[in-house]
């Protein structure tokens, strides 16, 4: 597929050894994994493409590459490892890393691949994505040949502005509306259902206000059905694919960008869990089985780099691994369930050990069923937050500083969950595809207390307008007031708007 250096013999043996240990002794269950050796330039290149060297052409990969190259030139960062969720999985080793680094990476990779294969949120991802990406690349290159790079790239830019407007849970839920609505029902539905009554009794059995009530209900239902879409839709990209006046090539590019967004979504949804899982296993496999005594110090060194968090930083590797270890210990000692929750005595609590030994089994279950949000929600305890010295921080406008706000558990958890839900991005829905009865598009920002960043919102409206071809609007709240941001292809407007939560 590509020119990459073959893995030297001694490393191949090591890969084999770690693979055996991970599989046979610790029960990790991974796809076949193909390791390739690359130099740092190739590593930067592959990283720029998000792991896929076969992707479609686009300037932002060049930008990413420039930034990665700069920061590796200046020694600010170095990518140790990269692995692609695919069957078989591909993983890249950096040429010139020392042996302990390589061992760490190999073990880390196998754990990632186990996670890809088993975690529920990855279950719907395309496991032939390497091929699919190449296919996307070929299609887009064909459009470039026909229409020129500027035009195609410009449209890709447009689509990328919209690529977070997908419904992260939709791969798991069948929620597509019926293609054809039952139009037959409409005429009949317009008749008001009446109780049977003789004429002279009618106004008693079916009193006027009852009739009015029924009329109103019917009208509301009719209104709802007339609405387009009938209910707010979160997969804005899909709505556009189905209803925007797109040319064939445009629709194809939009669908490609959407597909890739869905492919990458689970990696964002499970960052803490996935990195934690990989870190948990590389530590275990290396220290218990693979390393020689002389290598332990080197390992401690690299591991501490991975686990480093600067002041105020939350390192997903560190948080994740700490949480798995906490779970393992709690389930080993039986520190869970009703009995445990009801203990008030601190001393009893700290000496608690029912020797259940359920820890290992539990963490495997957790890696299968949870994502970052549910992981944190269910397993992060007050003790854990305290032991790990967690806090919330915020921006102090008066001083221009970021400051520690609180160490209160409830606030920490709340903030962390908010940050992780929907990747800390605003919830946006399509509310009306025929706004003002003029074919305008109306989006709804489900307001959760945090306003949108306005210049970016305007940028997205421009992209939307490019796709929808008619004026586009989004309703949101700014300065505690409902506001409608509009873009008609020439001008941006902001007007007061009656904001009703959906």
């Amino acid at each position: 597929m590509r020119t990459v250096k073959t893995i030297p013999l001694h490393l191949r043996d090591i890969i084999q050894e770690i693979r055996e240990v991970a599989k046979e002794e610790y029960g990790l269950d991974f796809f076949e994994t193909i390791f390739e050796m690359v130099d740092y330039k190739q590593m930067n290149e592959i990283a720029a493409y998000g792991g896929f060297p076969t992707r479609y052409p686009h300037w932002r990969f060049g930008m990413e590459y420039e930034q990665l190259s700069k920061s590796s030139e200046y020694g600010l960062s170095k990518i140790y490892e990269m692995v692609i969720n695919n069957d078989p999985s591909y993983a890249y080793l950096l040429e010139g890393n020392n042996l302990v680094d390589q061992k760490t990476v190999i073990a880390h990779v196998y754990a990632h691949v186990d996670f890809f294969k088993n975690n529920y949120y990855f279950s719907k991802t395309n496991r032939k994505m390497v091929d699919e990406m190449a296919n996307h690349g070929a299609r887009i290159r064909r459009y470039v040949d026909r229409r020129g790079i500027e035009k195609v790239e410009d449209f890709i830019d447009t689509c990328l502005s919209l690529d977070n407007l997908i419904d992260y849970y939709s791969p798991f839920i069948e929620r597509r509306r019926k293609k054809e609505r039952d139009h037959d029902d409409e005429p009949r539905a317009r008749e008001i259902p009446k109780f049977k009554a003789k004429d002279y009794m009618d106004e008693y059995i079916n009193p006027q206000d009852y009739i009015e009530e029924q009329k109103r209900k019917l009208q509301e239902e009719a209104e709802r059905l007339k609405k387009f879409p009938p209910d707010p839709e979160k997969d804005v990209m899909l709505f556009l694919l189905e209803h925007a006046p797109l040319e064939g090539w445009e629709a194809d590019i939009l669908s490609i960008i959407r597909e890739e967004a869905y492919y990458f979504a689970p990696q964002g949804q499970t960052k803490i869990m996935n990195e934690g899982w990989a870190s948990y296993w590389h530590s275990k496999i290396l220290t218990e089985r693979v390393l020689t005594d002389a290598e332990i110090i080197d390992f401690a060194d690299i591991n501490s780099k991975v686990m480093f968090s600067g002041q105020g930083q939350l390192n997903p590797y560190k948080l994740g691994v700490a949480l798995y270890r906490d779970i393992e210990e709690r389930w080993n000692k039986g520190k869970f369930g009703k009995e445990w929750d009801e203990v008030d005595d601190l001393e009893r609590k700290s000496n608690w050990d029912k020797q259940l030994g359920l820890g290992r089994k539990k963490i495997f279950e957790v890696r299968k069923l949870y994502n970052d949000v549910t992981f944190i929600d269910e397993f992060m305890t007050e003790e854990f937050a305290r032991e790990n010295k967690m806090f919330t921080f915020g921006y102090n406008r008066k001083t221009g500083n970021w400051e520690i706000e609180s160490r209160e558990f409830k606030k920490i958890k709340e903030k962390l969950l908010t940050q992780l839900t929907n990747f800390g991005q605003p919830f946006i829905y399509v509310k009306d595809g025929n706004f003002k009865n003029r074919g305008e598009l109306l989006l709804h920002h489900k307001f959760d207390g945090t306003p949108l960043r306005l210049d970016y919102a305007q940028g997205v409206l421009e992209a939307l307008q490019r796709v929808w071809k008619r004026p586009v609007n989004i309703e949101t709240i700014s300065d505690d007031k409902g506001v409608l941001l509009s873009y008609d292809g020439t001008d941006h407007k902001q007007s007061a708007f009656d904001y009703e939560p959906i």
């Binding site: 290149e45 960062s77 002041q311 949108l452």
Partner: protein
């Protein structure tokens, strides 16, 4: 060959887009002075607006986050624009912010030249300093195989065969013999090269405020950038003056503030002294720039200035540039005097700079003559 070189295309494309952005926003860069503080040795960091992809998102400062570590509520954990802990992981997320790109100064000058339609400078006819450049442009009969010149070898063979009558056009076989083989070889060419000196002079008396100096600072950045692209060797010297003049370093030049009177002639005298001592006219291209708000101490001193310019500076300089920065306190007289005295003199360029927005046009006035 390998697919691994694909990034080159995307990288080139990215640079092309950056270049276009810089061009379109040049006027803004010039008026805001964004670039002047970001200059490295040969590159300048250019903040590129909106090259990132806009998406619906929250304003950073509205959200905050969760961290780990020591500290009490109220303790500072970070400053400024970037929220703590936003390191950014490779490959998993797109860069969300506008970015800074390293642009080589040469390229910036090129963009500037295109956009401002600046003519290239023809250095004055004093090409003393010569550099030696080696170029593979010659041919030899011996040499290493790696330098064998395929085409020339066959040409030689063809010549020989034709001379000997061995060449058959119906069966065009050419067989080079050992004598036919030619190798590339290098030739030494001597390139005349010119050096230039820029002398910046500025009035630092009280009426030149921070804003005025900032304008001068921005202008000098662009002047430097352009002239640097035109000459191989460039030196800059800085003179500040009120009633007396002294030579200072670049930092002092832009950060000194004096009070008291203004005698412009003091600066011109010092300028002459420096030129006479260090920059013999036959070897150097000379660019004196003077910035003030247009107040001078006396009519006599102004007359003195004209005399020095006429007799000393102009005969040596490619061009003398005077930039008058508008200040609420200055009378703005000096530019009128210069104009009266030097009207029609090609090598004197005068420019009034009302505010930052005028920098763009002022640069064009200064550098547009190609002198």
């Amino acid at each position: 060959m390998t697919e691994l070189n694909k990034i080159k295309q995307d990288h080139r494309r990215f640079k092309q887009i950056v270049r276009g952005k810089i061009k379109r926003n040049l006027r803004k860069y010039m008026s805001q002075g964004e670039l002047t503080g970001k200059q490295g040795k040969d590159v300048v960091k250019v903040p590129i607006p909106r090259i990132d992809i806009p998406r619906f998102r929250y304003g950073d400062k509205n959200t905050g986050g969760v961290g780990q570590g020591e500290g009490e509520p109220g303790d500072v954990i970070g400053q400024g624009d970037q929220a703590p802990g936003q390191g950014g992981e490779a490959g998993s997320e797109e860069g969300e912010h506008g970015i800074e790109v390293d642009v080589p100064l040469d390229e910036l000058a090129e963009i500037m030249g295109e956009e401002l339609e600046l003519p290239n400078i023809e250095p004055r006819g004093k090409k003393r300093i010569e550099t030696i450049r080696e170029k593979y442009s010659g041919l030899r009969r011996t040499g290493p195989e790696s330098l064998r010149h395929f085409k020339e070898t066959y040409k030689e063979a063809l010549k020989r065969q034709m001379a000997l009558g061995d060449y058959d056009p119906d069966n065009p076989v050419i067989l080079p013999t050992k004598e036919d083989v030619r190798y590339r070889s290098w030739k030494v060419t001597e390139l005349p090269e010119s050096n230039a000196v820029i002398l910046y002079m500025m009035d630092v008396s009280g009426s030149m405020g921070d804003e005025q100096k900032e304008i001068v600072r921005i202008e000098s950045f662009w002047i430097d950038t352009w002239l640097r692209s035109q000459y191989k060797g460039i030196e800059s010297r800085y003179i500040i003056h009120d009633a007396t003049a002294k030579e200072v370093d670049r930092h002092t030049f832009f950060h000194t503030r004096e009070s008291g009177g203004t005698m412009i002639s003091s600066a011109y005298k010092l300028c002459m002294k420096i030129l006479e001592k260090d920059y013999p006219a036959e070897e150097w291209n000379v660019y004196p720039f003077h910035f003030s708000d247009g107040d001078n101490w006396s009519v006599d001193d102004t007359a003195e200035c004209m005399k020095i310019l006429n007799e000393g500076v102009l005969p040596r300089a490619n061009m003398f540039c005077y930039g008058q920065v508008e200040s609420p306190y200055g009378s703005g007289q000096f530019i009128k005097d210069l104009d009266e005295h030097f009207e029609g003199t090609e090598r004197v360029t005068l420019s009034e700079i009302k505010n930052r927005d005028a920098i763009y046009d002022s640069i064009k006035e200064f550098l547009g003559k190609g002198l």
